[in-house]
């Protein structure tokens, strides 16, 4: 498939950046309101075109054929052995679709900014390049390049257009992420030079069987363990896995609405995707290596991963429940929800590791279901968290406060907003019939036979998911109307309505008939886990 004579995946990666440059340049030739107008609509038009291509790529993905598709491979940096290698499977296709959908909606929402419009739009588009680059990359160097690239626009979005505490939040976000990236870069170099290639499919084939060699005087086992830790930390920060999560409430809380939507909706998936694409298949034996915990018990990294997932689910829910800042509440809900993704991935890691080692342990069916659930949960969380941030941002934009104690009874003045708020909250809560439930159910079903006690405790988190969601609804919509907002228009704006409508349709459709998307995920997952 080609677009304008360019491979469709290359197009998807490069087009947003080019579009961003055009959005930067073209409006400069006009003045005043016209300049902002052109910048906004140009950005929206570009992102819709790119989103359409993403949709076409998703539905064009042939799930009957195994392996990566739409592959493009061109020498890029022969000296290093890096090449411009892109391709999709069912997992990346899902996330490309998510990114393609969320970007135009975020751009539409960010119409609310009047400050340096062109730059704002351009940054969002540049950010999309970073995201799509990571999801499509089949070369470690390219992967790393776009991984880093995605940081920069988000840093500026928070730093320049964020809330009152934006300097602290953006710096924390940047430093924290760079801290992870540092190890990641070293890990990439170690892998690349030890294996002699950066090509991911090639690495998947040869890396696990590299044995008995030494690299820079170190045993290959040591190299693997080191790179494992480096990769793990980098991705864990991004997901975020508890306790690497404290950058998130600050960044989400302070980011502008569109920034939060993309940050929660798409960027967190980079980390989970990294686990699934790199860490699990590259280090199967490390995941199941025995670790002695303070002489008390023996477990393995997969078990610890599941334990952290449980903590993310439970502590994330408690933390969200303790918030009075609406955006921080939604931010912590991401910790809670991504915990289920991590739980699913922990099952994947354990199953894959045991299979690799030729050990019994995890039923392939359980692992497939859990992994399906994890990937679907990524998609679902993308929809619902973007929706929640849109709504939280909308009300913040109108009232200029995020303190829910100053809200109250908004449902009276904003009935449509209230209805949408409850709908989206319920999707986020995991109400059956809406999307969130399907992913959580699959993860719970898959992890129950494997990590029984951890799953049981995680249900406590699911209980408090209800707690904080209801707290949000209660503080915002219920109660006597706070007359402070008497002369404010609190109803949802048409622009926001248009932006959230596609999300709501997807939430409902995915909840009622998840098989529109799940088989695409399922086939790739089944291939990996050989069920």
């Amino acid at each position: 498939m080609t677009v304008f004579g360019i491979n469709v995946l290359t197009f998807l990666v490069i087009a947003p950046a080019v579009a961003g440059a055009i959005v930067m340049v073209v409006p400069q030739f006009t003045e005043g309101r016209a300049r902002d107008f052109i910048a906004r609509w140009l950005a929206l038009a570009f992102s819709i075109v790119i989103g359409t291509v993403a949709v076409v790529v998703f539905f064009g993905y042939n799930r009957e054929v195994s392996g990566f598709q739409q592959i493009v491979k061109v020498d890029w940096f022969p000296l290093l052995g890096a090449s411009w290698h892109l391709g999709i499977d069912g997992i990346s296709a899902t996330l490309v679709l998510l990114t393609g959908i969320l970007t135009p909606l975020s751009i539409l929402v960010s119409f609310e900014h009047d400050d340096r419009v062109a730059a704002h739009m351009a940054l969002i588009l540049l950010f999309e390049t970073g995201l799509l680059g990571v999801f499509l990359a089949l070369d470690l160097m390219i992967f790393f390049l776009f991984w880093e690239l995605s940081l920069v626009p988000m840093y500026f979005l928070i730093n320049q257009w964020g809330g009152p505490d934006r300097k602290y939040a953006s710096t924390k976000f940047m430093i924290y992420s760079l801290g992870g990236s540092l190890g990641f870069l070293l890990g990439v170099q170690l892998v690349g030079f030890a294996a002699g290639t950066f090509d991911i499919p090639e690495l998947l084939r040869i890396w696990t069987s590299l044995e008995g060699e030494t690299f820079l005087g170190a045993d290959i086992g040591t190299v693997k363990a080191l790179t494992f830790v480096a990769f793990f930390v980098a991705f864990a920060i991004k997901v975020p896995v508890w306790p690497f999560h404290t950058w998130l409430p600050d960044a989400h809380g302070e980011a502008p609405t569109a920034g939060s939507m993309l940050l929660a909706g798409a960027m967190l998936k980079l980390g989970a995707y990294g686990f699934l694409r790199l860490v699990i298949p590259l280090f199967p034996e490390v995941w199941v290596a025995d670790i002695n915990v303070f002489g008390l018990m023996t477990t393995n990294p997969a078990g610890i991963f599941a334990f952290l997932a449980m903590l993310g689910i439970v502590m994330g829910a408690f933390a969200a429940f303790g918030q009075w800042d609406i955006k921080r509440l939604v931010a912590y809900s991401s910790v809670n929800h991504m915990g289920f993704v991590v739980m699913g991935l922990a099952v994947t890691a354990l199953a894959y590791g045991k299979q690799h080692a030729g050990l019994d342990g995890v039923d392939a069916q359980d692992a497939i279901i859990a992994t399906n659930g994890a990937v679907l949960q990524m998609f679902n969380h993308g929809l619902s968290s973007a929706g929640m941030f849109l709504l939280a941002g909308g009300i913040y934009h109108k009232t200029h406060t995020r303190d829910m104690r100053e809200y109250g009874g908004f449902w009276v003045k904003a009935p449509i907003y209230g209805g949408i708020f409850i709908f989206t909250s319920m999707a986020s809560l995991g109400l059956p019939g809406l999307n969130g439930f399907v992913g959580e159910f699959l993860v719970v079903r898959g992890s129950w036979p494997v990590f029984t006690w951890l799953t049981l405790i995680s249900m406590l988190g699911l209980l408090f998911t209800g707690g904080y969601i209801l707290k949000g609804i209660k503080a915002t919509l219920h109660g006597p109307f706070n007359m402070k907002w008497r002369d404010y228009n609190l109803e949802i704006e048409m622009r926001e309505l248009v932006a959230i409508a596609p999300l709501m349709v997807l939430m409902l459709v995915t909840g009622v008939a998840p098989n529109w998307i799940l088989p695409v995920i399922n086939n790739s997952v089944t291939l990996i886990l050989g069920g």
């Binding site: 080609t2 004579g5 360019i6 491979n7 080019v18 440059a21 930067m24 340049v25 400069q28 493009v72 061109v74 020498d75 890029w76 411009w84 062109a118 351009a122 320049q160 430093i175 306790p243 404290t246 408690f318 429940f321 303790g322 918030q323 069916q365 279901i369 399906n372 009874g409 009276v412 009935p415 209805g419 319920m426 059956p432 439930f437 159910f441 719970v444 079903r445 036979p449 006690w453 799953t455 249900m459 699911l462 209800g466 707690g467 209801l470 209660k474 919509l477 219920h478 109660g479 006597p480 109307f481 007359m483 008939a513 998840p514 098989n515 799940l518 088989p519 399922n522 089944t526 069920g531």
Partner: protein, 826 residues
């Protein structure tokens, strides 16, 4: 597939049953809920008037359309249900084969989880009750919510509620059942908090949702476990496979495997779901508070839908719970599984416990709420002793008389509010000066408090008679009411076990008999306080229902009253003196097997005997033995209800018909009549005067009465034990100590260390390096003075430069490596 095909094929038709109300929900929400800005009319206690601030209100035409759409939706569901019922009744061997269809819903590796609908005898019975009761509630709602500015929204919610309940009923698997289950949870949350400006209302809504969610997350685990073990969630695949059930019963559970089997663990997790949904102890606390919602909601929650759903699920999953027990054995052969004992204890205890609270409540709806908890306890306890048919029977009769009671109480409240309104106007008219003082005084008037009522039988007779019938049915007034027959059947089953010396049966019998006595007593107390004697307040004096509201609200009462009396006759034991033969004629058991007329003497019942004996031969040897030992009752005829519903289970598990025994019947008579009599003697014979204290206080003593009135202080205990600690834990421990203190503390420490090192290096720089290379900076300074012009401080300009550089570099790479040329080809 065309719509016609769906309607003509009984296997496909069930898909359409929930569609009507669900579509109605979407139509109302999206189309007929149009608002316009208006000022709130003052005076409605449920709606603040906001100082005249204009708020969006739904237009009158939208309201009319919404009611029409809601009615249409539920009527369609009812008609389709009737078609299904007729087909089911005419189907030979129904139960052995059923109406079902399904499709792949979730891809899971090489297989898929299927989702589908199914109508079997149990579903058919539910379809007789649910759409009918729901339709009555819809008709009633139109009158009840007359003048409510959010009437459209109300009809949308109850439509969704009805759709969810019907989804649950026609589901052929546990997952779809759970979908309906949870959507109903959402609806009850929305409806309880319908008057969301009221603190009591939204607090009750949150409480209901949270309490049931405790149970639901555990139930979800049970579903996941069942799915993990069996690879399916289809009812018939799991429950009609006795080998599978036996395997599950013999396999140790994944956790606590020492004391529980896999079947027992998953059963208990599922039962906990019902403990939440059907408000059993200790998760019963949400239900009385749910009275904050509009009254039709109470009827919906307590009768037709939500709480019934919990018991329905128990009945549905009964074979799994039963796995591993032999309920029809004698002595040492008798075995009962852990989940059944669990149910017997929870149900029996709840039945009695809730009845004691109901005795001391003064709110007309709260009494009914606790009676619901108590009656649901009856059903759960019945299932705990394996009285499968009796539980289903009581579920149906209870739905009729409880819907009737709730709607009647709603009519009472409405009449009282009318009286209150009247009193208000009266005062407004004559005492204009004192208006504000009066207003404040009457703001505290509670139209639901029975102490404010009295003498209403003359004011609203069309409400009084249905209320009386419902109350008698609840009390189990002998022979004439539906409640008697179903309650008696539970007691009969318990008695049979008691005579065998089985522990759970004995416990259940004792608690239920005691609860039944209290039920009769508090029912009479409620009737007397509400209707007997003279009005105790001015409001009660002016209570009335008029116009179309009176018809819309009271017509359903009359219809339901009919069923509250007669619904029990389908389940009269065939060997019950006098009544048995009569109703066996009225509801003949249709024989589906080939009947050998010549072999049977009696023309009337020959078929049934044959049916019974055929069933017996199909049953296991042990059951045959049991039937014989039980006194040669192998030829016992089953009544219509028993006969119809039994084939839901496989032949080996079909519950035997128990022989008539006079002892439990006498108990039924004694407790019902005794309780009613005591209630009558205390409250009806000498009706309470204005300001007079409840004689119960004198009888029980004030401390005990206070304990009962305050529901054993369980709400307070939960608040102290769970709510406050959790709030503290989230706000202080997790947020302040762990996240901001510990984790961020570590991060900030690291940051401080690096900043310190950086500062140190900076000092080193200025001191050492700058000192050496002083000349170079001058040069740099000159350069930067020139370069500073780029630094305009405008972020666009920076980005422009970055972007330009990025593109330039990108293009250099692209052309040097040939991406652009090569990819054009591929």
């Amino acid at each position: 597939m065309s719509l016609n095909e769906f309607i003509n094929d009984p296997n496909l038709l069930p898909w359409l049953i929930p569609v009507g109300p669900l579509l109605a929900f979407f139509i109302i929400i999206l189309a007929t809920n149009r608002g316009r800005l208006a000022r709130r009319a003052p005076g409605n206690p449920n709606y603040p008037d906001y100082d005249g601030m204009p708020v969006p209100e739904v237009t009158p035409s939208s309201i009319v359309l919404s009611v029409a759409v809601g009615w249409l939706g539920v009527m369609i569901a009812w008609v389709l249900s009737l078609i299904t019922i007729v087909r089911a009744l005419g189907e030979e061997g129904f139960g052995e084969h059923v109406f079902e269809s399904g499709l792949d819903w979730l891809a899971t590796g090489a297989t898929a989880l299927r989702m589908g609908v199914m109508v079997d005898p149990l579903t058919t019975v539910m379809l007789m009750m649910v759409p009918f009761a729901v339709t009555m509630i819809f008709i009633y709602s139109a009158g009840y919510s007359a003048g409510d500015p959010r009437k459209s929204r109300f009809f949308a919610y109850i439509s969704l509620f009805a759709g969810a309940m019907l989804t649950l009923v026609v589901a052929d698997n546990l997952l779809l059942l759970f979908v309906g289950w949870e959507i109903m949870g959402l609806c009850s949350y929305l409806l309880i908090g319908f008057w969301f400006e009221k603190k009591s209302a939204y607090d009750a809504a949150v409480k209901a949702f949270t309490t049931t969610r405790v149970a639901d997350v555990l139930m979800l685990l049970g579903i996941a476990y069942l799915y993990a073990e069996t690879g399916t969630l289809s009812f018939r695949t799991i429950l009609r496979d006795s080998h599978l059930l036996e395997e599950l019963a013999n396999q140790p559970a994944i956790i606590l495997g020492g004391s529980l089997s896999a079947a027992a663990l998953m059963s208990i997790l599922l039962i906990i779901g019902t403990v939440g949904k059907s408000a059993q102890f200790p998760l019963h606390v949400w239900l009385p508070d749910a009275m904050e919602g509009p009254t039709p909601v109470s009827a919906m929650i307590h009768a037709a839908a939500m709480v019934s759903a919990g018991v329905y699920m128990l009945i549905r999953m009964f074979p799994l719970f039963e796995a591993g027990s032999n309920l029809h054995g004698h002595g040492a052969e008798f075995a009962i599984s852990t989940p059944l004992i669990f149910m017997a204890i929870i149900g029996g205890f709840t039945a009695l416990f809730a009845a004691t609270i109901a005795v001391a409540q003064d709110d007309v709806k709260r009494v009914l709420a606790y009676s619901t908890i108590s009656q649901l306890g009856f059903m759960v306890a019945a299932l705990g002793i394996g009285a499968y048919v009796a539980a289903a029977f009581h579920l149906i009769t209870h739905a009729f008389f409880k819907a009737l009671l709730f709607m009647s109480s709603g009519a009472v409240i409405h009449a009282m509010e009318h009286g209150e309104h009247h009193v208000h106007e009266h005062h407004d008219h004559h005492h204009d000066d004192e208006h504000h003082a009066e207003h404040d005084e009457h703001a505290h008037f509670d139209p639901q408090d029975m102490m404010n009522m009295g003498g209403l039988s003359k004011k609203i007779p069309w409400t009084f008679w249905p209320f009386l019938i419902g109350g008698l049915s609840l009390a189990g007034f002998p022979l004439l009411t539906a409640g008697f027959w179903s309650k008696d059947e539970i007691l009969a089953e318990a008695w049979l076990g008691l005579t065998e010396g089985f522990g759970p049966h004995t416990f259940v019998f004792i608690t239920l008999v005691a609860a039944a006595f209290l039920t009769a007593f508090y029912t009479m107390r409620q009737l007397a306080l509400t209707f007997a004697g003279e009005p105790r307040t001015e409001e009660a004096e002016h209570a009335s229902l008029t116009g179309s509201i009176a018809i819309s609200m009271q017509l359903p009462l009359v219809i339901l009253a009919f069923f509250a009396l007669t619904a029990g006759f389908v389940g009269v034991p065939t060997d019950f003196p006098v009544f048995g033969p009569v109703f066996a004629d009225v509801f003949p058991v249709e024989e589906v097997h080939v009947v050998d007329e010549a072999a049977e003497g009696g023309a009337g019942f020959g078929g049934e005997e044959e049916a019974a004996s055929t069933e017996e031969t199909a049953a296991t040897g042990e059951e045959d033995a049991h039937a014989e030992e039980a006194g040669g009752h192998g030829d016992l005829k089953s009544n219509w209800f028993h006969h119809f519903i039994s084939p839901t289970l496989i032949a080996a598990q079909e519950p035997p018909v128990i022989p008539f025994n006079v002892v439990p019947v006498l108990f039924s008579f004694a407790v019902a009549l005794g309780g009613l009599f005591v209630g009558w003697a205390v409250y009806w014979r000498n009706p309470l005067e204005t300001g007079q204290e409840d004689p119960l206080i004198g009888f029980l003593g004030r401390p005990l009465h206070n304990v009962l009135k305050n529901k054993y202080y369980i709400d307070e205990a939960y608040d102290w034990a769970f709510v406050r600690p959790i709030r503290w834990f989230s706000e202080v421990v997790v947020n302040e100590w762990i996240d901001k203190g510990l984790i961020d503390g570590i991060l900030h420490t690291i940051a401080a260390i690096f900043t310190f090192i950086g500062d140190l290096l900076k000092v080193l720089n200025t001191w050492l390096i700058d000192g050496v290379g002083d000349g170079i900076p001058h040069l740099i300074a000159a350069f930067s003075a020139w370069f500073r012009r780029v630094q305009s401080g405008r972020i666009q300009q920076y980005l422009l430069i970055i972007m330009a550089a990025a593109i330039l570099i990108g293009l250099v790479f692209a052309f040097s490596t040939g991406i652009l040329t090569v990819s054009a080809a591929g």
